[in-house]
Subunit: 896 residues, 2 copies
């Protein structure tokens, strides 16, 4: 049998169904399904995507297509009891494109096709209105010329305006049949003039041209670009829907409208929509007349409304989803023109899914699957009020979502001072460094000119759940003169700006924001996710406040508590510097002894906040020079002093400091003297931290809290590093526990963030009781990418050129980094089958990466507190997609 290229629908029966979206497109499948359900749909037929693909490959229709169109057209004529081109009783049709995925740039709709000077007469007679017929004709010419002939819509609008002026009327509706007839003539003249053709009169020619236009629009530049951008394959093709016209503009008992089966903004279970009386679809879109709410229809035309309600209920029950409907009623008779899954806000999506479970429409698993974990990010941060009118002055990378507004300041101390004075500020920096932490904490939001999605500012801001826009290269920051410029605008200290961390927009002035809500349905959905997921969810939290927030969001422990931020606090930094500048161990220990009680206090509060849950504390990680002034700044200061005052004493002091900074200076600090290397060379530093942890844990235990400390060793590549530090931990733990008589269950583990740690995981697991993959650094070393350097530089180019699909610091690179993770997991568990394994890089809060973590058999993920709900949901998604306990990614299995 020959391939079938055309699918008919009409008279309660369709060749297709809702499951044939690939072949019939979304629109065609919906029309077929509705027809089969007995819902009133104007009959018609769908030309398949395969026909389109054939056309595109071969430059002509496949054999038999024309005949099939002919046959289906005849069938349509029979069903409609009208003739295509029949002067007495003309059949008019609409032609619409309909790909599987809807796509801007595709040809949209041509209505009233089949009209010409002759059929016009029949239409007028049947409708009982000559004016209606001419209005339909001028609309057809306008649409056809625009969409099929590629002419400008505005040219026709101008012509119509001119006529209205001549006739001295204001509204289209005031034009008479005669006026419209005149207009039709002028439109045809316009076509002749601009396109050098007579406007086609043969309905069949019109149809052929419209079908070709749909096919061709598949490859117009805008559609191609859209597919490129959204990774939609180019060989899907589009279907073409040819459907008998019904008219919403046949008088006051006709109309057209759109509706959602539930509120798309809130998710509330109420029928929601708008309509226009005596109008065709385009009038709604054009926005000239204000549509009425559907409630009015209930009053005005209760029968039509009641039919519509019956239809929407039938459809929603059938599709088990919130739907978007297009309808028309012609002389009181209802027709559905389209149905599809309705677009909704994240908030609505959650409410609808939960409600539908309660209504028995869908299962909990289906409800979970329907919520894209990425989307719920917007439920957790304040948002720019979508109704607000805004002036976007620049756009950076959307580093940490939410919206915030405040007065611009340019230094961290300024931020703190202004906030103390009761102001709200946005901290604007070239880039941030750990010294800026307190200022970042004080500010409402952070804007940097440099850095990428995992730059210091971005990571810290996400950890704080604070709105942040980074890498905004359009702005030129002059920190010295406390101003930044963008194009011709100058923004000075104290000026108000608003940041949108979800879009990266930098907005002038103060904009209203909407606070985040964690609604009951959201919490309920997440509790279902918790029942399903296998992965544990922890949070990265460095402060008691973060810890509390994480717990509130459902974290089951802290997976990463960084200890270095604690040393940047104002009173501690000088002691830290004293420790670093110490010439010998004794002096170093003196400084450390001063830090010990402070560090202990930090841990006490975190342990209390996490009562009963495990807390993984990482020993000092960054290189020591991060705690000292910058080399270049010192060098410049000295040079300036030398050239001017000659204050020899000060020069000598600074030179001495410079010498130490010089000695600690590193070409590649990321690969330098940091992490456990510090503790191996200066065990007294680690010892202080370990002692602080145990003293805090013991004290808090004595106060009645349950503490589960887990000590994590960072940046290791050699099993002996772990052995040495574990010995130290064991010794200090023993001392502190014996001294107090309080014995704690604690464990010692490692952060796996270097390729060597992955491949030697079997050796490391002899000493480590848990692994936590630090995939930020692991991505850096596996790719040889410095995240500080590449994100602002060539990463974007790499994505544009298709070298990378994603930023690997945002989405875990399964093939490379993931394979090393897999090796680490397998080898680690070979030595210690019950090894607990997690991840605490940025990827721990990213859905696709969480899926990988599930597949590769990790025990938990840890992410910033604000991403905990996302991670809970994503973990449930992963489990639903890969239900087996360990369901390794294919490429990994193939390779080894």
């Amino acid at each position: 049998m020959d391939k079938k290229y055309v699918y008919f629908f009409g008279e309660g029966k369709a060749d297709g169904s809702k499951d044939m979206k690939d072949l019939l497109g979304g629109k065609g499948a919906g029309l077929a399904e509705m027809t089969n359900l007995g819902i009133p749909v104007p009959p018609g037929f769908t030309i398949t995507t395969e026909a389109c693909i054939y056309y595109y490959k071969n430059g002509r229709y496949p054999d038999g297509l024309e005949e099939e169109i002919e046959n289906n057209l005849s069938r349509l004529e029979k069903v409609m009891k009208k003739g295509f081109g029949d002067v007495e009783n003309p059949l008019l049709v609409s032609v619409r494109s309909g790909a599987k995925i809807s796509m801007p740039g595709m040809m949209d709709t041509v209505l009233n096709l089949g009209l010409n000077e002759e059929t016009l007469v029949g239409l007028a007679k049947n409708a009982g209105s000559e004016r209606f017929a001419f209005d339909a004709y001028r609309r057809f010419i306008q649409m056809f010329s625009n969409i099929v002939l590629g002419m400008e819509h505005s040219d026709f609008e101008k012509e119509m305006e001119k006529l209205k002026e001549e006739k001295m009327v204001n509204l289209d509706i005031e034009l008479t049949a005669e006026d419209l007839k005149e207009l039709v003539g002028r439109f045809k003249q316009l076509v002749k003039q601009k396109r050098e053709i007579d406007f086609p009169t043969s309905p069949k020619e019109q149809l052929k041209m419209a079908i070709d236009a749909v096919f061709n629009s598949w490859n117009n530049p805008r559609a191609v670009a859209y597919r490129e951008l959204n990774n939609i394959p180019h060989d899907l093709g589009t279907a073409v829907n040819v459907q008998a016209m019904v008219f919403g503009n046949m008088g006051s008992d006709s109309g057209t409208g759109v509706a959602f089966t539930r509120d798309p903004a809130t998710g509330e279970n109420r029928f929601y929509g708008e309509y226009l009386i005596n109008a065709q679809g385009e009038d709604v879109v054009a926005g000239i007349r204000t549509p009425l709410p559907l409630e009015r229809l209930n009053q005005e035309m209760p029968e039509v409304y009641s039919d519509l309600v019956t239809v929407y209920k039938r459809l929603e029950t059938h599709y088990r989803d919130m739907l978007d409907l297009e309808f028309t009623f012609e002389k009181g008779r209802l027709f559905l023109l389209q149905t599809r899954s309705g677009k909704r806000t994240a908030q609505a999506a959650v409410k609808i899914a939960v409600d539908m479970v309660k209504e028995g429409l869908i299962t909990k698993e289906e409800a979970i699957k329907r919520i894209d974990p990425h989307s719920i990010d917007q439920l957790l941060h304040p948002q720019i009020d979508p109704k607000a009118c805004i002036t976007v002055i620049a756009k950076g990378l959307p580093a940490s979502p939410g919206a915030s507004c405040g007065q611009v300041v340019f230094t961290a101390p300024d931020a703190c001072r202004w906030v103390e004075e009761g102001k709200q500020v946005i901290l604007v920096r070239l880039e941030t460094s750990p010294e800026d932490i307190s200022g970042m904490d004080a500010a409402q939001g952070i804007l940097t000119a440099r850095g990428g999605m995992t730059s210091h500012a971005a990571v810290v801001a996400r950890g704080m759940g604070k709105c942040c826009v980074v890498g905004c290269e359009e702005i030129t920051v002059d920190e010295e003169r406390k101003m930044f410029t963008v194009k011709d605008k100058v923004i000075r200290e104290g000026d108000f700006i608003t940041l949108d961390g979800s879009s990266g927009n930098v907005i002038l002035g103060q904009v209203k924001t909407i606070p985040p809500e964690l609604k009951g349905e959201f919490s309920e959905l997440l509790s279902w996710a918790d029942e399903i997921r296998r992965l544990g969810i922890r949070a990265n939290a460095d402060t008691p406040r973060d810890a509390e927030r994480a717990r509130k969001f459902g974290a089951e422990g802290i997976g990463l508590c960084r200890t270095e931020h604690m040393f940047f606090e104002e009173e501690r930094l000088p002691i830290m510097q004293q420790m670093i500048l110490a010439k010998e161990e004794k002096e170093r220990r003196e400084a450390l002894n001063k830090l010990l009680p402070m560090q202990k206090e930090d841990f006490r509060e975190i342990f209390k906040a996490m009562d009963g849950l495990p807390v993984t504390i990482r020993l000092l990680d960054p290189p020591l020079h991060e705690f000292l002034p910058k080399h270049e700044e010192l060098a410049v200061e000295i040079a300036t002093l030398r050239a001017t005052s000659g204050d020899e004493k000060r020069i000598s002091e600074l030179s001495h400091l410079l010498d130490k900074v010089e000695a600690l200076k590193e070409m590649n600090p990321m690969l330098g003297f940091r992490g456990c290397r510090l503790g191996v060379v200066y065990p007294e530093i680690s010892e202080m931290q370990i002692r602080a942890i145990f003293r805090a844990a013991i004290e808090v235990t004595q106060e009645g809290f349950k503490v589960i400390p887990e000590i994590m060793i960072p940046v290791l590549g050699l099993a002996t590093e772990v052995r040495l530090l574990k010995d130290l931990i064991t010794q200090v733990a023993k001392e502190e526990m014996e001294r107090s008589g309080v014995y704690l269950n604690y464990s010692v583990g490692v952060m796996i963030e270097l390729p060597r740690a992955c491949v030697t995981a079997d050796e490391i697991a002899h000493y480590a009781e848990f692994f936590s993959f630090g995939t930020n650094d692991l991505t850096q070393t596996t790719f040889g990418f410095s995240r500080d350097d590449i994100e602002g530089k060539f990463l974007q180019k790499y994505i544009e050129k298709g070298v990378l699909d994603n930023n690997p610091f945002a989405v875990l690179d399964r093939r490379g980094v993931g394979d090393l993770v897999r090796i680490g997991v397998e080898r680690g568990r070979k030595t210690r089958p019950d090894l607990k394994i997690g991840i605490c890089g940025e990827h721990g809060g990213e859905p696709s990466s969480i899926e990988f973590c599930h597949q590769v058999g990790l025990d938990y993920v840890s992410c910033s507190p604000f991403r905990v709900p996302i991670a809970r949901l994503a973990a449930a998604h992963a489990k639903l997609k890969f239900p087996k306990n360990k369901d390794m990614v294919d490429e990994c299995l193939v390779i080894d």
Copy 2:
């Protein structure tokens, strides 16, 4: 049967043999073997290492040991026809330690044991000299007290000097029997005074004490430290040799000496040694009397000499090696006291091995196995004359071997200028950068205060085969004032120093050096190695001169020709900078067009030098900012100008340059915008290089040379990077070949230097025709170690603390980096079974790493020209040790 703890030797038959070194130690096994060969050896017995180990574990002798010693002593008495402690005919013995591996710090030798006031009389009578007997006794007391009782040797010397003063004599020999008797009394008094014991008189007690002392010396701190340092297991234990005394000091027909069966310095096949008449062994060591050459013995005592010749020939033939002998003749009768493999210079080792093959003593394979590849390094560079008297003022890392002397200069331009003026210079820098290349090339040697074994200075110097000492942190370099200080010394520009790149010594003044010789035997040995090895050997060479040198040393091609050095030349750097500062592609291309002919010339000469051999050319590797002035230097210059002159124009110029430097600045340049990333983002840069390669290759082919170009893409982590650049290469190659009509065989490959490239090697091999492992960078990313930063900082500490066994930049880390190499090889060959794979990191010239490369199945190694001979030999060693084609390291197989 009980365990045997004591092995007898004597009367032409021994319980042991040369193969029992583990049990009897080196000395005991040698004595047993010589006895079995019928060579005159004073009889005796060896207490096994097992007895020592038991003693150490249990704090007492094993059961039966005392009895065995007793029995063997009786047997010795019988053989010697003397009695231990017999007053008439006393047996005296020597007691010596003898571990499997000789070790400083171990107890050495006690002679004349068995003497006391009574046996002394018998000895005097038998020797016919009372003076001899007293002399023997005072020597015994001195040695025993020093070695067994732990007293200071010098205390006894002082006593003797005092006596000589009292007796008003100058020489020991002038002391009479009576004087010596007096001395014995004083010695005993000294022991009583210092150790509060009477000097032991019972021979058996003396023997027991001496044996215990040997056992205990196994664990004295010096011996333990030595074993730690040299990775000798602590549980080997030492044997104890108890042997009947023979006396070289029994008059003018007695004597003692040492000999080598061949010349240990040159390897010449001549009997070589020294002796002293009327002396005991210690007299030779003490160096008080000047020994005579053995030729004299031939004249003085031809029979003894002839016996010695017979013995040495017998032994050398038996051991098939050059031997070191200790002998004594007592009243004209020859005894051998020890034999072992003789220490020799590298030069001698090579000559002896080759000669022995020709003499039919050993096979070629044995000859090769006997030459440690590490040792031949010293045959390839000038050496400090070992006879020279030197003043070492500082010690750095021995970065590139050889010795050189010259006048100190502190900048590269100074180096060039002074050399032009006909001077020889040593370039002293804080650290070097690519801009210093010309100065390094001009200098005789390079000294830096910073940097490790793979710092810029070290790598470049080794490539140039130039003497280099780096990381000499004792010196303080003041480049501005053109001086450096070390301790209290100041060395200024123009002062002479000498560097020893093999030891790291910095020597004051001019020291004589010995030029390198590549002798006939050496070349012959290497040709045998070539017959055996499976690995190909290539060289890393960036200049025609390097290429020629590499070829001379036996390289079979160039495995790495770096192209970046070419852009640092004086006339090119400004054009390079113009290219980098270009605002758009057009401007960039203009600069590149100027560089193209220059780059082409570079390649022409290299291709000609390597006529008929493959040349692997790597595309531009370093980040672009390396070609610009340093950020800090500019910032300081601007600050100085601002503070003084206010030359606004200059400030503005510099500020503009600073902006660009700022834009290109990287936190971690090692992980930044470099390697193929440059070519992906700016294809025009790669295009210029590729065009230069093909134009050069085509021209040189037209001139009749055979060119085999291999283009290598650096620093890649993604298969798409390779695809994009390979497409570019293919296109340019096609253009150039079609234009000229000359068609070349060329190949395109990659440098595998990132972990991601290893794990995705299967994808990469779709495009790459060869892999070359860049293990310098791979070590950096696998360990997360920046070689620039860690070598001067914590690496040394890591080795001291046993965290690392070696510097992983010198010796390839098999377990971590090696495992990634293995994964890369396996996955690469899975896609492309005939994939050619090499290594071009520093490890390519390091013997243990070469062994790994052989095991893991690489096709070739590439190293600096001066290491090519080492690599040839090491590759043969590897093949002899692992003869199967692919003989994977065990741990790798176990893991996956």
